[in-house]
């Protein structure tokens, strides 16, 4: 692994009574693709929001490029975020702006470049994701896959040091999925940046990842290279990678025994 860009130590985070993370440690390298995988509802998106400083942990530290994200003043946090790109699950494009204006948005906000320069940059970024031809479309005219590609162009608009991808493959047809997988790989290789892919699509993510963390039940259950994960004997990892319905993550949501529920508590009010 190359030099560490993101260091997470002793991370604890809860929502109400529900513990999301309990003592999580991670090291994410400065270059390469790091996959964070795990079943739905394990807090993968929450982890990205914690790294981006949108949520505050109950305990522990998250350092990005040597800076403790949650001790930064707002101005410094915003300065750090200019060097982070994030691709949301929905794309999160601003719906009242065209594709061009969406990609130009961070450039116009944070630089004083002339409009000619902005136009050239936007076209180059859109070209990188294959959507230069969609420059004048509105977000409502894009398919889900195209919206994510525009969001990718926007995420790389300011040449960030890292990009966080939140479930980039969810709900995509095989072609769009293939395009997104290829784009994440090629952008990472071309820009030599840190890419964090949060996903539960095992095959696609493993095919491009350099390093994998598997999280479940609030903690890191295993980490290593994709090969390590394929060869792992851990019950957690096997259940996740092989897609087994039952295992350490139980098929049944926590409930009393069936017979008790059917007979003993027949008079009980539900809800």
């Amino acid at each position: 692994m190359s030099e560490t860009l993101i260091k997470i130590r002793g991370l604890k985070f809860s929502r109400g009574d529900r513990v999301i993370f309990e003592n999580v440690d991670m090291d994410i390298p400065r270059t390469g693709i790091t996959a964070i995988m795990g079943p739905s509802g394990t807090g993968k998106t929450t982890l990205l929001k914690l790294i981006g400083g949108q949520l505050t942990p109950d305990a522990g530290i998250i350092e990005v490029d040597g800076q403790d994200v949650h001790k930064l003043r707002t101005r410094d946090l915003y300065a750090l975020r200019k060097r982070m790109g994030m691709l949301f699950q929905s794309g999160a494009l601003l719906t009242d702006l065209s594709v061009f204006d969406n990609v130009a948005y961070p450039i116009r906000e944070h630089t004083r470049l002339s409009e000619v320069m902005v136009r050239q940059l936007v076209l180059l970024k859109l070209n990188a994701v294959g959507l230069r031809g969609a420059v004048d479309l509105m977000p409502s005219e894009l398919s889900g896959g195209m919206a994510r590609r525009v969001a990718m162009a926007r995420a790389i608009a300011l040449d960030p040091m890292m990009i966080m991808y939140d479930e980039p493959f969810t709900g995509q047809d095989p072609i769009s999925m293939g395009v997104l997988v290829q784009l994440i790989k090629s952008l990472n290789d071309a820009l030599k940046i840190c890419s964090i892919v949060v996903s539960h699509d095992v095959f696609e993510t493993m095919s491009i990842a350099d390093y994998v963390y598997i999280i479940s039940a609030g903690t890191v259950v295993e980490h290593g290279s994709p090969e390590d994960m394929h060869n792992s004997q851990s019950e957690w990892t096997r259940q996740f990678i092989d897609g087994l319905a039952d295992g350490p993550v139980p098929f049944h949501f926590d409930a009393p025994p069936l017979l008790d529920d059917l007979f003993a508590a027949s008079g009980r009010r539900r809800g």
């Binding site: 981006g52 975020r81 200019k82 982070m84 994030m86 949301f88 999160a92 719906t95 948005y105």
Partner: protein, 263 residues
């Protein structure tokens, strides 16, 4: 029985705590909106755009409602005063009612229904589709770029809309009193002119509408920003905006009237 009672008390306590927490959040939110208002100086275009969608697009409903309210007021005033031979005072009743009460109050109620609910829905939908989070991650403060312009546009628009409502209402009253019921045009205007005070009536009405604009805009943007980002949550937030705004307008109207016109 005792358990049931305890459950009730616990539930009451919980909802009181939640309400207090929400009120606290609304105040903290308001402070951050005030801080975000400075951004308007650098980007006046954001405010102008919102003035159009919050103010100009509410004009039609204000114009139509104002006209009819003025007409009805004149008709009712005429029926009440004609028995005493005081029908020349119709204009005084219409103008004073509009400037002091109906102009600010009805405009604010219509504003809450038309613009307030739209503000909540727009901001809430931006939250549900992660657009606000997306802005934060692009190092852009959504309170400064999205919320503050809408909030300020609400405050600026309300007095103007109330003034237009009252003006059109007076015109509607004139049409009914003079053109329909045949009262003297000169008496209509001179009576109104003699009885209406610039600061007492017009000024206080403007202050009322400014206060209502502030409250409606605050409730609308807060409900949008604080909503649960689901379709159900968004629906509830929009309803809350209209209900809370309407109740706040009516309650504040009473307080302001007592303060302004109490002897």
């Amino acid at each position: 029985m005792v358990n049931h009672l305890l459950d009730r008390i616990q539930g009451l306590g919980r909802s009181t705590m939640n309400s207090a927490a929400r009120l606290g959040r609304a105040n903290v939110f308001l402070m951050s909106v005030f801080a975000g208002l400075s951004g308007m100086l650098v980007r006046p275009g954001l405010l102008i755009k919102q003035l159009f969608s919050v103010g100009v697009q509410t004009l039609i409903i204000i114009l139509v409602a104002g006209l009819f309210v003025g007409m009805v007021m004149a008709l009712q005033a005429y029926y009440a005063l004609v028995d005493f031979g005081a029908e020349d005072s119709v204009s005084v009743m219409v103008v004073l009612s509009l400037l002091r009460e109906l102009g600010p109050v009805i405009t604010a109620l219509l504003f809450a229904g038309r613009a307030g609910s739209a503000l909540t829905a727009e901001i809430g939908l931006m939250k549900a589709t992660e657009q606000l989070s997306g802005m934060e991650m692009m190092a852009v403060n959504p309170i400064e770029r999205v919320v503050a312009p809408r909030f300020l546009a609400g405050i600026v628009s309300m007095p103007m809309l109330a003034a237009i409502f009252s003006a059109v209402g007076v015109l509607g009253g004139y049409l009914v009193a003079v053109e329909l019921l045949g009262l003297d045009s000169g008496a209509f205007w001179s009576q109104a002119q003699a009885k209406v005070e610039l600061y007492e009536d017009l000024g206080n009405g403007m202050i009322k509408s400014l206060v209502f604009g502030f409250v409606v805009a605050w409730i609308a943007v807060f409900e949008g920003y604080d909503c649960i980002p689901t379709s159900e949550g968004l629906g509830q937030a929009t309803t809350r905006t209209v209900v809370y705004s309407s109740l706040a307008i009516l309650a504040l109207d009473f307080v302001l009237t007592a303060l302004m016109f109490g002897k």
